[in-house]
């Protein structure tokens, strides 16, 4: 069970990560805002409480594997990794600039701490399925988990469903996926662009264990991961209901913030709002 003290600590950390996201996006001048802010709580809990990893020894053989499928939300990945000690927080300011390790979409040739390069949608889950299959072949599927974070929008991609089908067929118990169910994609709301509901029933039909949870409730999120780790016969999908742009009222729930970044003024306003949150904590 996660303690109240730990939750407070994580809330503060998530707020710091959101501030870093705003700072790096303003500096970069391009990128995505809504997704990274919406997933900040999930990433914080994941890196600081769930994932088996070691920032000082990133290639540790027994680490869990984490595949970020929707690479465009990488500001939250980079910010979380920096706060977790993989590289200096200062380096976040190099996002998207020439010569940076922090490419516009993650590239493992530049940043070997990420397990896969990503960006083009619909490719992460099947790579995670491959990792889970390899661990099963090597009888290591009881020793670590393969995690994959996906977006709801990339469930439009056929490749995502090919992966879901194969994971269900092979009963990959060591595979835990999270979908960032924030209901927006570039052109609008997911249910207008290409309806995904009933998403839980679809996953169940493909023989997955399904958990629905608020992506901003640390206790519930923690319980969801613990439950997923306990399921023996099936892969698990955690449908994390997230508020896009979470933490900055002006950005929340507006799909227009999917693929654009705050200008300097908007950035100041957002940081001031997040600053108030940190005092509240």
């Amino acid at each position: 069970m996660i303690t109240d003290k730990k939750i407070l600590e994580l809330e503060k950390k998530a707020n710091d990560i959101r501030k870093s996201i705003i700072e790096m996006l303003v500096e970069a001048g391009s990128g995505h805002t809504a997704g990274p802010l919406g997933m900040a709580d999930v990433f914080t809990l994941f890196y600081f409480h769930i994932l088996k990893h070691d920032a000082k020894n990133p290639s540790w053989e027994d680490r869990d594997r984490f595949v970020l499928s929707n690479g465009h939300i990488c500001p939250v990945l980079y910010a979380t990794m920096a706060h977790a000690g993989y590289f200096p927080v200062e380096e976040l300011k190099t996002l998207r600039k020439f010569g940076t390790r922090l490419q516009g979409h993650p590239h493992r040739e530049y940043l070997p701490y990420v397990e896969t390069s990503s960006g083009p949608l619909g490719l992460g889950l099947s790579q995670a399925v491959g990792m889970a299959l390899a661990d099963r072949m090597d009888k290591k599927d009881g020793e670590r988990f393969i995690y994959c974070f996906t977006s709801d929008g990339e469930h439009d991609e056929g490749n995502t469903w090919e992966a879901i089908m194969l994971a269900g067929k092979n009963k990959l118990r060591n595979l835990i996926a999270v979908v960032d169910r924030n209901n927006i994609q570039i052109d609008g709301f997911t249910e207008n662009i290409m309806p995904l509901e009933p998403l839980p029933e679809k996953y169940r039909a493909f023989n997955w264990h399904v958990i629905e949870v608020s992506g901003h409730d640390f206790r519930a999120l923690d319980e969801a991961f613990v439950e997923a780790q306990s399921i023996y016969e099936k892969p698990t999908i955690i449908i994390s209901h997230n508020i896009p742009g979470k933490g900055v009222k002006e950005f929340e729930r507006d799909y227009k913030w999917h693929g654009k970044v705050p200008n300097k003024e908007e950035g100041k306003m957002a940081l001031a709002e997040l600053e108030k949150n940190s005092f509240r904590n």
Binding site: T116, S117, L123, A128, A134, G158, N159, A163, M165, L166
Partner: protein
Amino acid sequence: MLNPKLKLNPKIFNADVEQMSIRKGFGQGLLLAGEIDKNVVALCADLVESTQMNIFTEKFPERFVEVGVAEQNLVTIASGMAAMGKVPFCSSYAMFSPGRNWEQIRTTIAYNDRPVKIIGSHTGISVGPDGGTHQALEDLALMRVMPNMEVFSPCDAIEAKKITLAIAKSGKPAYLRLAREKTPVITTEETPFEIGKAEIYWMPDIGMAQVGIIVTGDLMHRVLMIAKELETENIKIKVLNLATIKPIDVKIITELAKETKAIVTVEEHQVMGGMGSAVAEVLAQNFPVPVEFIGIQDKFGQSGTPEELVEHYGMGKNAIKEAVKKVLKRR
């Protein structure tokens, strides 16, 4: 004469030369690679027997993943397995892999630099009766433009086996082009194969060659027959087997151009972007000489026997001979 150093099949020009499909050579090679390295695994998209992967899967069923008719999944799952230390071989028809899943291969295998091996069977016009949808004529172009990717196109089953063994331990992404039909066995177990090194298969008995013919794939047998015939017409030929399209053997291609001052390229592939284009890139930068290109001229295929189709699309004996004579005049 056949290059005596290479120990090619002495029965090449006999009517009873052994026939074996290039895809079968791959199947045998994969079994051997699997015996050598326990990390070699196989994935297939519902074409196990057709791509000759069954030779491996019967021996190592626990190292095989059947993904169903899902080529995008085929290669992305393979990339994930490679991330965990496996050496995955993925087979399908080339029209679907790398035809359908090119971006998946680019992002998850080439960009990630994962040692996944893409095996494209049923390439070239000689796929025959299945018709244009199933005849992969663009695969070499698709794969050779991809950074980190190595590209191979063997001339016979034995060379296919050797390439399979070589790419199993190369540590790099690779594309291996296979053909469906049984074709004459040109090489022997003793014939050398090394990644990136092309070999002269035919040379004049004495003196310099007047034309260099650069061949990839199973049209090699036809070209060797032509070289032998042209010898009687006093046209001296050197024939180069270019089994590694990438990394390309710049040295031997340039030497051949310096000697002959005239090159003909022969492949069962679109002329645009294929092996001939790769050769032209080398020559334009190092030693420009006239080049004639034998291959598919910006067209789709159709149903027919392999022989009918090779003739119809301008890769038959007469077409190649004419190209040789034409390039001789352009020297």
